[in-house]
């Protein structure tokens, strides 16, 4: 039987606010345990939550970028359950009225574009961490993370392959980091994915029973876990088994998913509106203010780059893969006025090296100004492409400007006609055999002669000029 895969994602993005969503404690990562947990985070008797509106701002940003509905009245609810790293015995989240509803995001699959619909995005607080090692049979609790703002972004079950799921997750990741609402640090848990997976016979309309893989913090794990889970479900069904709704965990060491709890064990969270918090009213003014603070969105910027700098859609897309990259491009292109050349360097040589070293544009040792300096010397024919590459290599390892390196290493391209003529004449005199071959009709011999001239000039002669002068001399 042919099976169709159905996937939906719930992504917990940690919002990059300075303080927590309901207290003034810092959200900075990596502090000593329990040093960033105030009375409110510790849930002392009598303390009350106060909403950090910066978290709402960030949720609105996402909603605007996705074309979602921003609920002008949204409500915080309590999700009740006991766990040692959940200090209040409930998590403040949103249930019936989330801040963001609907919206969509486009994903690129090769040459094809597909639109994935969003169900909702709601604000909630993170829990603390339980530490089960180093305590000799006991558990340690670190509440530094308790109260960190999260935006849970829920997609519709619109994805039909693992590739689509990964593309969606990546597109969402690009967007939240682009918007500046999430620092994107996946190792620190800033972007955690729950994946709902089901399969159904090709052509069947009703969804199969889903299982949810919890808490994946890399795209690679997402891919591995979803692939394993799909195969597991198909195997079950083909063996005549049934899928039970369940929550499962992915073990990166074995590459397998395993059951965490079945539907029967599911909590009754007893949601109800949190009486300590008033409904959040988001008026037009609030939305307008956030709109005014939004950066240009990737799609808009891509179109503008293509138009303004005469770039291909492909190049523009590469440049807008992240906001940092796009800003780098614009800074360099603005400095030298050579968008096309700058784009070639970023998408070519720079991308190759960063890829090799596993870094992104922030790790590029050549800043946009220095790149612009190099590009200018190419544009004004000071550097041949070969020399440019040589200068670029030198720039990668030091912080000198292109001009300083050209000066230091004497790498200026020679375009002086007299000097080149002299070298051409020398080459003709020294290689009579090649001259004869050329005159006998062997075009290739010309290249050998040109090579001699370039060699004599230590690569600095303008190659186009060399060829032209050679031809003139030989056919004169």
């Amino acid at each position: 039987m042919k099976w169709e895969v159905v996937i939906g994602l719930e992504v917990h993005t940690q919002l990059s606010t300075v303080s927590k969503i309901f207290s003034g404690a810092s959200t900075a990562f990596g502090a000593a345990p329990n040093t960033q947990a105030c009375n409110i985070d510790l849930a002392y008797p009598g303390v009350l939550p106060v909403l950090n509106e910066a978290a709402v701002d960030k949720a609105i940003r996402l909603g605007l970028a996705l074309g979602s509905k921003i609920n002008q009245k949204n409500v915080f609810a309590r999700k009740n359950y006991f766990y040692p790293d959940l200090p209040k015995g409930y998590q403040i989240s949103q249930m019936d009225l989330p801040v963001v509803e609907g919206g969509q995001i486009a994903i690129q699959l090769g040459d094809e574009e597909k639109v994935i619909r969003l169900t909702r995005a709601h604000l909630e607080e993170d829990a603390g961490k339980s530490l089960h090692e180093d305590f000799h049979g006991l558990s340690g609790i670190d509440l530094n993370r308790a109260g960190t703002p999260l935006l849970e972004i829920v997609s519709e079950p619109d994805m039909r392959s693992v590739e689509e799921a990964v593309a969606y997750a990546r597109a969402l990741y690009t967007l939240v980091t682009w918007l500046g609402i999430c620092d994107g640090n996946m190792q620190e848990g800033s972007f955690r994915m729950d994946v709902n997976v089901s399969v159904r016979p090709q052509g069947q309309e009703a969804f199969g029973t889903r299982r949810e893989i919890k808490n994946l913090n890399s795209f690679r794990f997402l891919e591995q876990a979803a692939k394993y889970e799909i195969q597991w479900q198909i195997d079950q069904l083909e063996d005549g088994g049934k899928i039970q709704q369940a929550t499962v965990l992915f073990d990166p060491d074995t590459g397998e998913t395993r059951m965490m709890r079945s539907k029967e064990d599911a909590h009754d969270y007893r949601y109800f509106p949190d009486p300590d918090l008033l409904p959040v009213r988001i008026g037009d003014e609030w939305i307008a203010r956030v709109k005014g603070e939004m950066p240009e969105l990737p799609e808009q910027m891509k179109a503008r780059f293509a138009e303004q700098y005469g770039l291909s859609a492909y190049d523009a897309a590469l440049l807008t893969a992240s906001l940092a990259q796009a800003r780098y491009f614009e800074a360099a292109a603005g400095d030298c006025g050579q968008g096309k050349l700058v784009a070639n360097w970023i998408n070519g040589e720079i991308a190759a090296r960063l890829n090799r070293d596993g870094g992104d544009i922030a790790a590029c040792p050549i800043g946009p100004q220095r790149l612009a300096g190099l590009v200018m010397r190419i544009a004004d024919a000071t550097l041949s492409s070969k020399l440019a590459k040589q200068v670029f290599d030198a720039m990668w390892d030091c912080d000198l400007s292109a001009d300083a390196i050209i000066e230091r290493d004497g790498l200026k391209q020679v375009s002086d006609v007299g000097a080149i003529e002299k070298m051409v004449e020398d080459a003709i005199a020294a290689n009579p055999k090649a001259v004869e071959e050329f005159r006998a009709g062997k075009e290739k011999a010309l290249n050998a002669l040109a090579g001699q001239v370039m060699k004599a000039s230590k690569g600095k002669a303008n190659p186009a000029q060399v060829l032209e002068i050679l031809k003139n001399k030989l056919t004169a």
Binding site: N39, L42, A43, Y44, P45, G46, V47, L48, P49, V50, L51, R78, N80, F82, P84, P87, K88, G89, Y90, I141, D268, R270, Y271, F272, P275, D276, L277, L278
Partner: protein, 483 residues
């Protein structure tokens, strides 16, 4: 001196006829004598109290005293107070020393008031008799066989027995008004949002409101001036311009329209309470007030809706007492779940457990709509009843409780019977309105009976005005138990 009102004591301090330290010593001595009998206080700390009193005297000497600097008071044991045990009447918090001050405590400290101690209460403010305290029942000074009312029984008894001139209290379903009524003192529950809940240990967040018990309405006004005010740490705190709650005290009552809700004078009201309330109405009429018949048709539904909403919120609010970070933890347990179960089984009393179970049930999947949502709809209807009623009157007047204080232990086997006695007080909390209890007479057995006054939203000044004018013409509030 012990019998003086807050106002009078403030005057004596200002005149220099007494020092704060002398006052504090006098009250502490009296507490030492009478508390073993009455059990009104959970915590006392003579050294701390005297240090505060000396600081107040120094502040006065420095010329920076405010109107209430140096006046002693007692705090209900659910206002968090730094360095003091804040037990909420529960074994669960018997070892909890608060690391911070509630907003109300901060305000009283800033005013220079001196803490005499922490008053007893029904555990987590759940109860109408003060029999639900881990620290034992509080005794009514008028008759030690009678309950003092609850949950602010310790505060009410401390004022009635002149162990303090004034005490903070809280009211979730009548917990200020009912003990004030049973103890023959004056109590004020402000509009929801007037007094910050920051640092008040939560029972039912949408109903809890801090307030005061004192000898007189005037003292309540002076205290509310200290306690009220916007606090950004409480999202339900109402941001309004500061007001002087004593500004209308002297206003004559001529032209006042007093609404009498017919549902408050129906079946269930004891004849002697009815007689006391009628006499009070006659007094107000004598002063020029007119009486209007009003209706609060959903009054009877206040009991079921309150006993759904309050336990629902409580079941969630009390989840934090899990033995993990502070408070009681069972000595021995097998695993995490066992630790939770034993800790909470040992830490909470029967009434608290009952309400946690009821609250958990009404919020459960499949029952939420039938109970919680329905109760919220009724709550809206009840609030609308008051909006209608206040179209034709300035204040609403009625009984606080159906009877005078009942005997200790007489209702222990029937919690529902006890819930029913909250019939006249619950609606005020559900609607978020201000309410008062004012001493208005005595039952045949000598137990006090209070009169309830209900104001419109933010109508505290008018309410206090009516109570004050009533007290100018009557002496119920000056009568004291023989101790």
């Amino acid at each position: 001196m012990i019998n003086a009102s807050l106002k009078a004591l403030a005057g004596q301090l200002a005149a220099g006829t007494v020092s704060s330290e002398e006052l504090a010593r006098a009250y502490l001595d009296r507490i030492e004598t009478l508390n073993p009998l009455l059990n009104a206080f959970i915590s006392l700390d003579r050294d701390k109290t005297l240090a505060e009193a000396r600081a107040a005297d120094a502040r006065r000497a420095a010329g920076s005293a405010g109107p209430l600097t140096g006046v002693p008071l007692a705090h209900k044991d659910l206002f968090c107070q730094q360095g003091w045990k804040t037990s909420c009447g529960s074994r669960m918090l018997d070892n909890f020393v608060s690391p911070y001050d509630a907003h109300v405590v901060e305000q009283c400290k800033a005013a220079g008031m001196v803490t005499l101690g922490r008053t007893n209460m029904d555990e987590f403010a759940m109860g109408s008799s003060n029999e639900n305290s881990w620290y034992g029942p509080v005794k009514n000074p008028w008759d030690v066989n009678a309950i003092p009312g609850g949950s602010s029984g310790g505060s009410a008894v401390a004022v009635a027995a002149r162990l303090t001139p004034v005490a903070t209290a809280t009211d979730t379903g009548g917990s200020i008004r009912q003990p004030a009524s049973h103890c023959g003192i004056t109590g004020l529950k402000p509009t929801y949002g007037v007094v910050s809940r920051y640092g008040m240990v939560a029972f039912a967040s949408s109903l809890d409101q801090g307030g005061v018990v004192a000898q007189t309405a005037e003292d309540c006004a002076l205290m509310l001036n200290v306690m009220a005010g916007f606090d950004k740490r409480d999202s339900t705190s109402v941001e309004r311009a500061a007001e002087d709650y004593a500004r209308d005290l002297a206003r004559p009552l001529a032209g006042l329209k007093v609404g009498l809700p017919r549902e408050y004078f129906a079946e269930g009201l004891s004849p002697e309470v009815a007689r006391v309330v009628e006499a009070a109405v006659a007094e107000l009429k004598k002063q020029g007030a007119t009486v209007v018949d009003v209706s609060l048709p959903n009054t009877a539904l206040s009991i079921p809706s309150y006993y759904v909403i309050a336990p629902a919120e409580a079941s969630s609010n009390l989840s934090r007492y899990d033995g993990v970070r502070y408070g009681h933890r069972a000595a021995e347990y097998a695993d995490l779940v066992d630790m939770y179960e034993k800790t909470r089984a040992e830490g909470f009393g029967a009434e608290v457990k009952r309400r946690i179970m009821v609250g958990t049930y009404v919020l459960s999947h499949g029952y939420y709509d039938a109970y919680y949502i329905k109760a919220q709809k009724i709550r809206r209807l009840i609030a609308n009843d008051f909006v209608e009623a206040f179209k034709s009157c300035d204040v609403i007047l009625g009984p606080v409780a159906p009877t005078a204080a009942f005997d200790l232990g007489s209702m222990n086997n029937d919690p529902v019977e006890m819930y029913l006695s909250d019939i006249y007080t619950l609606s005020v909390n559900l609607a978020g309105l201000p309410g008062m209890s004012v001493p208005a007479g005595f039952a045949a057995n000598g137990r006090p009976i209070g009169l309830q006054l209900i104001g419109n939203y933010f109508g505290e000044a008018r309410l206090l005005n009516v109570a004050h004018q009533f007290q100018l013409a009557t002496d119920w509030h000056t009568q004291q138990p023989a101790l």
